[in-house]
Symmetry: C2
Subunit: 460 residues, 2 copies
């Protein structure tokens, strides 16, 4: 298929933007890329797809997603963390049954695809959500995913108040053997669209012994790891009080600092920690909306970038965002750090788009496959319609995308060479059906958990 008539932000080494460009896709890869006129002449027999002058970018890469939490959207807005986590999020997640995990995954993936995300990293698939059914949702929907299988062996967090819901507790054996089993079953499946990772719980939910076992297996078997880290101040205190270490000293101690690890949030770290990230090649997933909404704080992203840490981006879950729209997330990443540093030149639109594409690919170990539009890479790309009121006029499409557009402006999405969204319509998931199912599953879930979620204001 020859996709043509688009302004293409290639993200290649020279960062070329091809005006009136075209992309030739053979099977699931980019076979050629260049000007429309040249490619049309070169491939006169090829079937064509007219992008109608839209902007084309590499598929967005969300490096921190909680699929299951899509059913929990708005479950605990404006609440203290302990209420948010222990009385709502964990309780609801601990009551997942049967196909709740599958339906949640479908809802979340549908939202991601429609807003331009073509690859994501799931943080922690609990056994309760049914890993294989979630992998099936990925397979069916056409998205590309790295799925972290949960790793934990302790049921409490930093203190007793943060006790894990019993429905979510797993053992060392479930963690390690479960990951290996799912890796065996799913890694590389769906034409290599599915990868299986360790989805480690935060320190406090994992013993030092288990961390060391996991990081050793990670290196031996090339199974990558993602973990929440230094999200709230209590995390930093925990490392200091329990181990007399800084967050990254602890991660180093248990073997987590590695280019096979993506650490998420990373709000409560200092320059010394940042240097350890840089020298070890450890990746970071920055989640600005989540960090703001949960009042975790503001990560020192400009400092990380200065130290050449690979910082990617994530939307987190819908109780803490409450959407999975990477375009909206890019805007916040671009403007938030300007306010904090009082410098309007930090984190320009171009750098933020790199974080959401190239840096994401690198974090997932997929920089040779995705993250830019170049010959030989997998055909993951997104057409965004900038011919809207709120994106007019537009002279720099990158800054228009980051500062003015939303996921609602996405028109076409191609993953692994297949069109999954066309003219804003999902082709692989029945949108209306999944919305209705999700509502039914969420209703049943709240009932089972004994939680009532209702408006603050009186309903008459």
């Amino acid at each position: 298929m020859l996709y043509y008539n688009a302004d293409i932000v290639t993200m290649n080494a020279d960062r070329h933007i091809i005006a009136d460009g075209a992309i030739l896709v053979k099977d699931n890869r980019i076979a050629d890329i260049g000007k429309t006129k040249a490619l049309k002449e070169k491939y006169p027999e090829e079937e064509t797809y007219d992008f109608g002058g839209k902007l084309v970018i590499p598929g967005l890469i969300d490096t921190h997603v909680h699929l299951a939490q899509s059913l929990l959207r708005g479950c605990a807005d404006d609440k203290e963390l302990i209420q948010w986590l222990c009385q709502r999020v964990w309780v609801l997640q601990g009551c997942f049954e049967e196909d709740d995990g599958y339906v949640a995954a479908k809802l979340c993936i549908a939202e991601m695809l429609k807003s331009g995300t073509t690859t994501f990293l799931e943080a922690m698939c609990a056994d309760r959500y049914n890993f294989s059914r979630i992998a099936t949702a990925v397979e069916e929907s056409g998205i590309r995913a790295c799925l972290g299988k949960i790793v934990m062996d302790i049921g409490t967090y930093t203190d007793a108040a943060f006790a894990m819901h019993p429905g979510l507790i797993e053992t060392r054996e479930q963690s390690l053997l479960g990951t290996l089993a799912m890796h065996e079953k799913w890694h590389g499946k769906a034409n290599d669209r599915i990868h299986v990772w360790f989805g480690s719980r935060t320190p406090g939910g994992v013993s030092v012994e288990l961390f060391k076992e996991m990081t050793q297996i990670s290196q031996e078997k090339d199974i990558r790891i993602t973990m929440h880290c230094a999200e709230v101040e209590a995390d930093k205190k925990y490392f200091r009080e329990e181990f007399d270490m800084s967050p990254m000293e602890f991660c180093d101690h248990v073997g987590l600092l590695s280019d096979k690890t993506v650490l998420v949030h990373m709000v409560w770290i200092e320059e010394k920690d940042i240097k350890m990230l840089a020298s070890s090649g450890t990746h970071v997933s920055h989640n600005p909306t989540s960090n703001c909404k949960l009042a975790s704080g503001i990560a020192k992203v400009p400092m990380m970038l200065e130290h050449k840490v690979n910082v990617s981006m994530g939307c987190d879950g819908s109780p803490c965002n409450n959407d999975y729209d990477m375009i909206r997330e890019m805007k916040l990443a671009a403007i938030l750090h300007k306010a904090v540093s009082l410098d309007p030149t930090v984190m320009p639109a171009e750098q933020v788009l790199e974080m959401a594409t190239l840096n994401g690919a690198k974090a997932l170990g997929l920089e040779k496959e995705i993250g830019s539009l170049e010959v030989g890479k997998k055909a993951d790309f997104v057409a965004v319609d900038l011919n809207k009121l709120h994106t007019t006029p537009s002279y720099n499409p990158v800054s228009t995308l980051v500062y003015a557009a939303t996921g609602g402006d996405v028109d076409t999405v191609v993953v692994d060479g297949k069109i999954v969204v066309q003219k804003g319509e999902l082709l692989t998931i029945n949108e209306e059906e999944i919305r209705v199912q999700a509502k039914e599953h969420a209703d049943a879930l709240y009932k089972r958990a004994g939680i009532v979620n209702k408006p603050i204001w009186p309903v008459v």
Copy 2:
């Protein structure tokens, strides 16, 4: 017309949400409001409009808009303030000719209406933009507007580096007589949809004498004032160095502290200033996106709200936002202050919606007319479609609106009893036509100003 089958967030004194509610509109006012069933029985002959189960809220009120800047969208992203303002924004604005102002206003109003804003306060209409043509754009489009006529008599800002573009400089006479003339001509016109205000330049652009004349006229003739204030640290320094006063001491000195004044941004103020705002009834317009993107800083909004200052919200202009979407603006207002205060309970969704409706109405002196959906008030309301992937499930419509929706989810907009947006389509402005015109006018404007706005990355 009987609008029915909606969940109505009334914003009345009890904050009632009417499930399956209906609104009866007679002429331009709300004649009745209640349950669909009851109102259908009570008014069986009435023409009906089915909201299809959508969420209905009072029309959003944007208390800080630069209409003209819609043509300047993305004109200086990621640049230092002095480059942003003096080499781009002022230069382009200083080169407005003929109907540039009218076209910009139409583009901006179209975007606002489609994203649920029914009333706005224009900060500073320069003579160069042609006040009457802008008022005509308001009249034709059906939106409700308070239009500030620019007031200035000094061509430089806090220091010589911030010299105003000659094309924008106006005199004392233009300022005062111009406002009075426009007030005479337009105030109360279009069925009272148009109000005329003083749109004062920042201290530094206005002499103490002119400030005093303006504030005296404001009180005598009941002409309201809006002004940028304490936006950047240099503003605060200016008041201290030139007058040995805090920002609010200066405003008090020249008569600006009054319930007829809306001060915009208000980032660089202290608790003492905030107490002066509260005791004088002076209103504040909070513009979080603009403050972040321009690296102005983060306003102490939770402290202002604690002190009972009336804080409303604004999107500012498209060089510093880059959109005019109040729903997106609400989300940032709700999450930003949580991150800064490390408290997830500050600025809950409900409070932010109050800021964008009731507080906005109060800031404009229109609290008896708009801001809530109650019998006797003007019929300004917006239906938002929450039956989308990214808003499913939804248990508290207010938090879903603020945290998950965008202006792109707006379905129907009614202003002054007239439907101006229906199923997402503008009825009063030809969207495609204004988009094309805006692009042409922007292209010509850049050419005239000798400014090239192009992508940072190489276009091939």
